[in-house]
């Protein structure tokens, strides 16, 4: 009995996760080898769905867009998050500034998408400002212009994620001991030298977590794009996640959708290997 008891503690969590997450994940993998619309009996088709996918321009478009998103969300919210954490550290009003930058965390993807859709509209706030600087003929409905629409949505996403990254970096900065910074200051190092030689290297493990989380989150991006452009115009701004939803729940081609989800999962899993390494390495250091 004593041998079984620890497993009883695990049981509720394992049942929920096993039944609603792990099992469906495996099912999706097997559906990707079938032709199925969700109603008729499914038919095994081997690798046909993957063959279709890899010859489909819409898939490749969404694949490149996904890469664009990953790079964009590393360049913008991660860098700006680090910058904000460094800048606001011990600044008067630090707390107020941080709460404001963190605030978009409270908002849903749908709300954020709506807020920014109206910013980018032809008669929206962005164009109203731009009209003061450039000729009105150059103004566009930005969400319909490829590839500016993806860039515009990455900015939206950055507005949401910068605060989260800033908080994570701030947490890491609090754990940096005073002595090396004090020592460097006594040696006559300037602020930027201390930043480059002491602070940034000591933030390395925090940075690793933030970067890998940013990669995984941007691979999984869905709601902002779905509300702002629906992946359009002509599926030009879709990512893999959006493309999957499009194939599955608009075209009701579950085989294509599942194959798409499988490809996305493989990519996410590759990134997760780094993630798991990073968080467990961090734990060994014991910070």
């Amino acid at each position: 009995m004593d041998k079984v008891k620890p497993y009883l503690f695990l049981l509720p969590a394992l049942l929920f996760v096993g039944f609603f997450l792990v099992y469906p994940a495996f099912m999706t993998f097997s559906v990707s080898f079938t032709e199925w619309n969700g109603i008729n009996v499914s038919k095994m088709v081997g690798f046909d769905n993957f063959r279709f996918l890899f010859s489909d321009p819409a898939f490749w478009k969404s694949f490149y867009n996904t890469i664009f998103w990953v790079v964009g969300s590393l360049v913008f919210p991660v860098t700006l998050g680090l910058f904000a954490a460094l800048m606001l550290y011990s600044l008067p009003g630090e707390r107020l500034f941080k709460v404001i930058i963190f605030m978009p965390y409270a908002l849903s993807g749908v709300v954020i998408a709506i807020v920014w859709s109206y910013m980018y509209k032809f008669e929206g706030a962005i164009n109203t400002i731009l009209a003061g600087f450039i000729d009105k003929r150059h103004l566009q409905p930005w969400l319909q212009i490829v590839p500016i629409n993806t860039l515009a949505m990455i900015i939206t996403y950055g507005w949401r994620m910068t605060g989260t990254n800033m908080v994570l970096f701030s947490v890491g900065m609090l754990a940096i001991p005073d002595e090396p910074i004090e020592a460097a200051r006594i040696e006559g190092a300037s602020y930027f030298q201390i930043l480059r030689k002491v602070i940034i290297p000591m933030l390395a493990s925090t940075t690793a977590v933030v970067v890998v989380m940013a990669i995984i989150n941007s691979l999984n991006i869905f709601d902002i794009i779905w509300i702002m452009t629906q992946g359009g115009p002509y599926r030009s701004s879709a990512t893999l996640g959006v493309n999957m939803y499009f194939e599955s729940f608009l075209n009701f081609n579950f085989g294509h959708g599942a194959a798409n989800a499988t490809v996305l999962s493989v990519i996410v899993m590759a990134a997760s290997v780094f993630y798991i390494r990073v968080i467990f390495k961090k734990r060994e250091i014991g910070s």
């Binding site: 930058i101 963190f102 507005w159 999962s265 467990f280």
Partner: protein, 291 residues
């Protein structure tokens, strides 16, 4: 890292930069707030960030909120969705935290064979894209007549919240000295008693943080809410907002924006008033010594 609060010229320059950054962050929210206080013609004839001339913003805001609550057509009103999302967010996060706490206790303190495997199995739920769950769950719910029911959504929300809770609580429990657990065993307490009387009271901080995280996550979820529910009686708040936005020609921009503000009030309230719990919760991701 020491805090240096002396105000020099460099600090003042940074302060100005910070004000610019924060202003840029507020700007979109300001536009939305102001736009939701205009009538439809007032919105069309004024700059996005300025109030409309000749209108009472408070009265117009009230009208827009009223319109948002009623919806533009039958079954499009906010009220049922508000209660649904409240139900999903509270039950989903509370049950998930309870299940996760039991599991994390077992993984961290009881010497379970294969504990790392079980941990990875549970943890895998935090990394997979949500899209990977949609098709099988959608067809499963249709087959079992659970599609478009509250039960289906509650079950899915519990499941999706467990992995992160397990991760965080395992970290937390690993930091509790093993001697405390051993002492309770010597005193003759069962594992369940040790869990209930020692570990649960010790874990108020991560429980509070996790509740805030998961409540916010479920409240803000869109993809599950829109895939597994369709009718007005089960729809979650964000799925409803997306539907209102889709039909914006009949609802009108200021009313949609009022709706977007209205549905964000609960989570905004949590983030602003419990900001320190959120921040501390994020720090917990990094805690835990190796064992």
């Amino acid at each position: 890292m020491q805090k240096n609060t002396k105000l020099g010229p460099a600090k003042i320059a940074l302060l100005l930069l910070a004000i610019v950054l924060v202003a840029a962050w507020i700007f979109p929210l300001w536009n939305v707030a102001v736009s939701s206080t205009k009538s439809l013609p007032g919105y069309a004839n004024s700059k996005p960030w300025a109030f409309a001339r000749g209108e009472n913003p408070i009265v117009q805001f009230g009208k827009n909120v009223q319109r948002a609550i009623q919806g533009s057509q039958r079954g499009n009103g906010i009220r049922p969705a508000l209660f649904n999302s409240l139900l999903y967010s509270v039950t989903g996060s509370v049950i998930a935290i309870a299940c996760a706490a039991l599991a994390a206790f077992s993984l961290a303190c009881l010497r379970v064979r294969g504990r790392f495997f079980f941990f990875l199995l549970l943890f895998s739920g935090t990394v997979f894209p949500l899209q990977v769950y949609l098709i099988p769950l959608f067809t499963l719910f249709q087959k079992t007549n659970l599609y478009d029911t509250k039960i289906a959504l509650i079950l899915v929300y519990i499941a999706i919240c467990i992995p992160f809770c397990v991760f965080l609580l395992r970290n937390w429990f690993l930091d509790v000295p093993l001697e405390i657990y051993e002492a309770t065993k010597i005193d003759g307490a069962s594992d369940l008693q040790a869990f209930r009387l020692i570990f649960v009271p010790l874990s108020k901080a991560p429980f509070a943080a996790l509740f805030l995280f998961q409540f916010t996550w479920i409240w803000n979820d869109y993809i599950f809410g829109t895939t597994f529910a369709r009718s007005g009686t089960t729809r979650s708040i964000m799925a409803l907002l997306a539907a209102q936005q889709n039909m914006y020609s009949s609802m009108g921009t200021p009313a949609i924006l009022a709706s977007a503000i209205f549905v964000s009030i609960p989570t905004l309230f949590l983030v602003i008033f419990f900001r320190n719990t959120f921040f501390k919760g994020m720090a917990l991701q990094f805690s835990g010594s190796s064992k």
